[in-house]
């Protein structure tokens, strides 16, 4: 007999459905095609970042430095083009920088064994500081003529669908393929589920952990490029915002446990949709930014509490160091 028990993913999806329904019924202008597209467009970047975070979290880590990866390498592209370099050369430099950054992260976590929370906190600061001190002339790196054509990555439509949504979709497919269809993906799940068992089994845990952070940084950079293309500039101050917390919320609310080994792309999509719906609805209701955050927080809290009642943890099976 199947027990009537919901996991967090289903609860969040239910909350999303209820919210969506309520907004559609009570909120004028919510359930229109235009608004739906706006909704998705607004959360596309968040969703892409969520995918990057998901890879790391599934491998039982966390990557606080994603926002730095989002801001600095794309900012570098804009800055280099502004300074007269060609677009491909600039892109190549940015990608190399991103890979190097991911390697540093991964090395620190896998080989130097610094806790991921702390390591990425510090490397994020380091990269943001590097950008601020050495790479950018202004906090907001402006679009220049050399970038012409590149804005199509974030603006316009492909087959009637806004490009940023298409980009999100592409990212989803790529990450889903990586996680579900490749051996590396299986290794990531294994490491996240039980790192010691994975190591004993002979899985190259350390290289795989490095790989996670490199891929995460690359996806973060991709999100940054989409973001820069859609607003025609790179506001590097985004590093100071609380965006990273939103990203973590997307991942965790979607049902990817921070203890690793669980979840997938679908969870990120659900989490993104919930956040997106809430933000969009409240924007239509004309609630202030702080008010929106308050409502967002309370709803999230309720979701997590509900989850804890339906799926209580107990002291017997809780994992040590699982914060």
């Amino acid at each position: 007999m199947k027990r009537l028990r919901f996991n967090q993913q289903e609860i969040v999806f239910a909350v999303f459905a209820v919210l969506f329904l309520a907004f559609s019924i009570f909120l004028r202008g919510f359930l229109t095609p235009e608004n739906m597209l706006t909704l998705l467009q607004n959360v596309a970047v968040l969703g892409i970042l969520g995918l990057a975070m998901a890879i790391v979290v599934i491998g039982r880590g966390i990557d606080i430095s994603l926002i730095a990866a989002l801001a600095v390498p794309p900012g570098l592209v804009l800055q280099m083009v502004q300074n007269g370099h060609s677009l491909p050369a600039s892109l190549l430099t940015a990608v190399l920088l991103t890979i190097a950054f991911g390697l540093v992260n991964g090395w620190l976590i896998a080989y130097a064994e610094v806790p991921s929370l702390f390591a990425t906190l510090a490397t994020g600061l380091l990269l943001a500081g590097l950008g601020q001190a050495a790479l950018f002339q202004l906090d907001v790196v402006q679009w220049s003529d050399g970038m012409k054509g590149f804005e199509r990555l974030g603006q316009g439509t492909i087959l009637g669908i806004p490009t940023s949504i298409v980009m999100f979709a592409i990212a989803c497919v790529v990450v889903a393929f990586l996680l579900r269809q490749t051996r590396w993906g299986a290794y990531i799940y294994a490491i996240g589920d039980n790192p010691y068992a994975a190591r004993v089994t002979g899985i190259p845990s350390r290289p795989i952990i490095v790989l996670q952070y490199v891929v995460a940084a690359l996806i973060g950079c991709f999100a940054g490029l989409v973001m820069a293309a859609s607003v025609n500039s790179m506001p590097t101050r985004v590093f100071n915002s609380t965006l990273i917390y939103d990203v973590i919320l997307v991942v965790v609310l979607g049902g990817i446990g921070l203890s690793g080994g669980r979840g997938g792309v679908l969870n990120v999509i659900i989490g993104t949709l919930l956040i997106g719906t809430m933000l969009n609805g409240m924007t239509i209701m004309d609630i202030s930014y702080a008010g929106q955050n308050l409502v967002k927080g309370v709803v999230l809290l309720l979701a997590v509490i509900t989850d804890s009642f339906l799926n209580p943890r107990n002291e017997e099976t809780a994992q040590q160091g699982d914060i």
Partner: protein, 705 residues
Amino acid sequence: MRDTLTSLRYRYWPDHLLGEILSKRWTETAIPVILLLIVGFALSRSIDHFLSPSSLADTARQAGEIGFIGLGMALVVIVGGIDLSVGSIFALTDFCALYLLDVLNWPVPAVVVATLACGALLGAVNGVLIGYLRLRAFITTLITLIIYRSAFDLLIQRYSNSIAAAFPDIPSWNFIGGGDVFGIPSVALVYVAIAIFGHIFMTRLRPGWHITAIGGSRRSAYNSGIPVRRTIALCYVASGVLTSIAALFFAARLGTVGGDIGVGLEVIVLTATVLGGITLGGGKGSVAKSLVGVLIVLLITNGLTTLNARGGINRMALAGILLVAAMVDIRWQKNRTRIISKVYVAPTYHALPPPPATEIGQGGPFEQNDKLRDVELIGLGRIEAPEDVILDRNNNLYAGSRHGDIMRFFAPDYQRMEVFAHIGGQPLGMAFDRQDNLYVCIGGMGLYRIKPDGTVEKATDETNRSMHSVNDDSRLRLADDLDITDDGLIFFSEATVRYEMDEWPIDGLEARGNGRIICYDTKTGATHTALRGLKFPNGICVASDGQSILFAETFGCSIKRLWFAGPKKGQVEVVMDNLPGYPDNINLASDGNYWLALVGMRSPSLDLAWKMPGFRRRMAKRVPVDEWLFPNINTGCVVKFNEQGKILESFWDLRGENHPMITSMREHRGYLYLGGIMNNRIGRYKLENADPNFVQYDKRWGKLS
């Protein structure tokens, strides 16, 4: 000449201290403290007036504020959680204080109380969610971070103007913000008071140990009955209160509510916490670590600001130092025990003359024979590790077992066996007192008393701590054998203060005088150390004069006499030295002489190695433990000696089957009972010409049997 130099070098150079210092828990903090000193030194060289009183006072003010939050964070991290909402709680309580003071014009004490209550409430929300509802700390405090922050944003939109307009001039409020006592800022004073309390709380009080236990292993803590949920919840409440204290001082110092108050504070505090060496995941941490971490972060950020570094460089420097420190710290924590195990063994010079002959045909009292070849075996395969054996007035036989029990074999055939008492640690030497209480030395636990009905009581497990020792030697690590004087003093030996029960042979490798003789007074219950610096003191027996004890130094290969009363009180005299083996327990014989067990015989190789401390140190560092050169404890013998130190007789088992290994023997009604710490049996040997009515403790206490 060379031997003299070696002996002097090893007598006066304290090799053993390095390992002992490294194994102190406070050396875990070594890396953060070194980093703090380096940072402080570098900054004081590059910035003028960095160490001037005003600059220091300023740093102390900020350090105090961040320090309070650091203490709260340390607490929740130690209990196995994390509190990301401290920045927002800081902002909200700061607002609360200023709103109550400036807008509602409450008196200062009421403001203080209300602010602390507000902090407690905000912390309690976290606490209830994480402790009782068992949500994940990270995600929960992340959500409360957002909720509290947006609540704060909404509140200051309404009230920031009225707060900014007010300029309260209240002396007590100003004192909180900018006052000092003898140049020490008020906030630093309060911080020191709370930090000292916190240190005592975490290291000396039960709730503090509960917190560490939960962080170390939540499951074990739950199973051992610690109120896990309540303790966790209270930790978050404490974090909220500590944050609100910081906010109070901040509010009194600056008196403003800007929108960005406390933004990113959680990152700074978390950085400080981890940098101080408090492990994420729980179970490890201290107040000192939290303070060191806070000071490092503060010095770096302040120093770089003073140096007018660009924001980016500031960030990079902070991040770089953090990463390097974290890496070094993690390596240090990970390899610390390995380093300790490499340097802890510190051999010394120990020279013995060639031993007397034992071979057949060489003559002498130690000449080998086969008397023990056919000893009767008791409890074969049913008892493990009977280090000592003893018989009561009803002829029942008692022996310790490795499982922490005292076993009793019933007379007359010693076939029936029962667990007489369960203690939990391995019983070693035993003795009966006048009231038939059985006193037992328990390895790793101390001296215990078992009443005739089998109830177990602790007699003592500590003695006075010696002044110059690094290791805490007040606890008894390896109480070994004992005897009771006519006045009710119990003299017992503690074989070594440097090794635990399971690693006692390593002490023989060191051959340093690590042991001592301790005296417990049954009348007053007081314990004191009678004699220290002995090479593995072992067997103890009150001598026939009633004023001295005979004791064996196992790795000194000697028997000595210590006077505890009479004209020679306090003096030590050698009775026998240069024994051919390692002496163990000593007991009374029916003819007024003494029985002595030699637990193993000396070998030329170890005798030589004992003169070569450098060789043994290299061996301990480079060779795995199971290939070290250890004293032989496989074959020994029983000898009888008289008061003058003359060996009268020896008993061997040449075939090595029945009873080659002997740690103790006890004469009882014409039989000699044999125990051995590696044996699975007790031996019983019929003595010729012995008093068939001899009962050791009846003779001692003058009872009729």
